[in-house]
């Protein structure tokens, strides 16, 4: 025999289960889309680096300064190319995680954490060392921050936790 209290608990569990099943793939799916934005931005920057010409920078004015600075390459490899590889890895892992591969989700968190720290360092360099911002680098930074936010939301089980709190009132 089910008591009214235990009925409420069961329905709460069902709601949580539904949210975790739906929330995970959706968050990873969005993360995959954000990774694609970062990937194509990084590809554009890589080609700009390879061809060496001045590209049209339509929002800010510091693209040349940033992209021709010594920080634009690491051991002779264009940083944009490293970024493209990182974003493609993120896309692959997010896609796998969306299909239920748990290890992929953990690896994705690790890579995004590294990218987040790298992005902070690059923003610092643009703001305080080079003194100019490149709009394509800012798009990449926004993509990394969005990825980090999505994975944090996943880590803290949002929006399930918010709904749980809401239903508890």
């Amino acid at each position: 025999m089910n008591l009214p209290g235990s009925l409420v608990d069961t329905s709460q569990q069902t709601t949580n289960l539904k949210n975790s099943v739906l929330g995970g793939p959706i968050i990873y799916g969005v993360a995959a889309l954000v990774s694609l934005v970062g990937l194509f931005d990084a590809i554009y920057l890589t080609i700009g680096h390879v061809t060496g010409r001045s590209l049209r920078c339509t929002i800010v004015t510091g693209c040349d300064e940033v992209l021709s600075s010594p920080y634009a390459t690491v051991l002779g490899i264009p940083l944009a190319l490293i970024g493209a590889v990182a974003y493609f890895t993120c896309f692959s892992l997010a896609t796998l995680a969306a299909f239920g591969y748990r290890t992929a989700g953990k690896l994705l968190t690790l890579i995004v954490a590294l990218m987040f720290l790298t992005t902070l360092a690059l923003l610092y360099l643009q703001a305080f060392v080079i003194g100019h911002f490149c709009q394509f680098c800012l798009i990449s930074a926004a993509a990394t921050f969005a990825l980090a936010a999505l994975l944090l939301a996943r880590r803290f089980n949002w929006p399930t936790s918010l709904r749980s709190r809401g239903s508890g009132r």
Partner: protein, 232 residues
């Protein structure tokens, strides 16, 4: 199916990414068939280029005779660092080949990529109205780093105008003149009609050169090949 689907998605994304990279690279380094003033331009594969090539500002700023067997037409931005690096190479070409090579400069200030590019273009065109375009052109490229870093470039440019012996009052008036604006606008129209989007872009006898082939040795090789062709 559920196991294969993510792999398929990843492979499709990889193919699209590589395709995009290839397309951008082709666009950046494409070579077009010869074009000149006026005729119908070839449309590079996959690029919706306008069909009529604009003539640009007339007469163009040119070094060398009109009938030279080789013409190099550069679309440049005085504030663009790669253009600054190309400048001594073109001076070297001018020195080595003399009247056999004609060099044309077209204005393509990348705004707002370069904060002072338009002011520099106006500066050179205003100097051109007093017959000293190339003197100002050289000064702007040789001192690019100096004025690029400045907040207010006007006193620096006026200093250059004085240095090359321009009538300063006329120069100041000409900076905002319709003639100056029109020349920059017409060169920009020509650039657009040829599908030029970045600087420096150089055409050798109407054929766009890839950025990699602007290295001095490669440039010499291509000029020599054109000269040999013309001599036959």
């Amino acid at each position: 199916m559920k196991r294969v689907l993510p792999i398929v998605i990843i492979l499709v994304a990889l193919a699209v990414a590589l395709g995009a990279a290839w397309y951008l690279k082709q666009n950046a380094t494409r070579s077009t068939a010869p074009v000149a003033n006026g005729p119908v331009a070839p449309v590079p594969a996959g690029k919706p280029a306008p069909t009529v090539v604009e003539p640009g500002a007339q007469p163009p700023h040119a070094i060398g005779v009109a009938g030279a067997p080789v013409t190099l037409e550069e679309f440049g931005d005085f504030e663009c660092p790669p253009c600054g690096r190309l400048h001594p190479e073109l001076k070297q070409i001018e020195h080595e080949y003399g009247q056999r090579v004609r060099i044309i400069f077209r204005e393509l200030p990348l705004v707002p990529t370069h904060a002072h590019a338009l002011a520099a273009a106006r500066n050179a065109e205003a100097a051109g109205l007093q017959g000293k375009f190339w003197e100002m052109h050289d000064l702007l490229y040789e001192n690019q780093k100096t004025w690029h870093a400045a907040f207010d470039v006007r006193p620096i440019f006026e200093g250059y105008a004085t240095r090359i012996g321009l009538d300063l009052e006329r120069f100041k008036r000409d900076l905002g003149s319709e003639m100056v604006e029109r020349r920059i606008f017409l060169d920009g129209k020509r650039a657009h009609s040829l599908g030029v989007e970045s600087t420096p872009t150089v055409f050798l006898n109407g054929r766009e050169l890839s950025f990699e082939s602007l290295a001095l040795d490669k440039l010499r090789g291509q000029i020599d090949a054109e000269l040999a062709k013309a001599a036959k």
